[in-house]
Symmetry: C2
Subunit: 133 residues, 2 copies
């Protein structure tokens, strides 16, 4: 009986450790969203092609990747080649995984000669709320 | 009988015109969302107060105003006084109504000495998608 009791104690102890580590990891991921603003200037002669490629990439990523949480991409009315994209990923690793997807690689390759400049700015949300469908 | 037939024709004709005008108005409003990016620089000594006031304003507007559709506000990690807000209103008139609300007036008054610069940029969405709750 003592033998079984010891085995049970060890089992409970190990399970507790595993659950603790696992929950800490989830909690850490929950607080570690990666939020970024990308500012791009696009070659004006390829602007329509660029916007189509970006749109396709964003739609594919939002559908296929659970770790891609938000894309808001806009161009400026008075400076139509100036594009801003707000991006939210569930974690750094979700972002790293995103960069390896076929749709991201296709976008990156297709647009490499369209992008005149790209600035990536790490940002922190103050408030994010949407009633858009 | 001819009299009634004529009256019926006039009724149908007038109803058609009213429905046409009404539908055109709805369609036009549907395409006339007002989308804007605000770029602000805040006095560093009042940054926390500013962020709290902005957050309160955004939350009140999203709850109280059907015409306020989206607010995404972020600050830059490396330049924490630099704030960008993406705003979507259902129409120009929804935006004008927003500016008259008590919560907006309170925010504008409370923050007038905190904002060092404010740039408003009209933008056009390329793609907007979110899985955030």
């Amino acid at each position: 009986m003592k033998f079984y009791k010891n085995r049970l104690s060890i089992f409970i102890f190990l399970t507790s450790i595993i659950l603790f580590v696992f929950n800490s990891k989830i909690a850490a991921q929950g607080n570690k969203q990666m939020v970024r603003m990308a500012k791009l200037v696009i070659d004006s002669s390829q602007l329509e092609k660029y916007k189509a490629a970006l749109k396709e990439q964003m739609e594919s990523a939002l559908i296929a990747e659970p770790g891609v949480l938000l894309y808001n991409a806009v161009y400026e009315k008075e400076n139509q080649t100036h594009i801003t994209i707000l991006e939210v990923y569930a974690s750094d690793s979700a972002y790293m995984a995103h960069r390896q997807t076929p749709h991201f690689k296709k976008y990156k390759d297709a647009t490499k000669d369209m992008v005149k400049s790209l600035e990536l700015i790490d940002v922190v949300p103050i408030g994010m709320g949407s009633k858009l469908k």
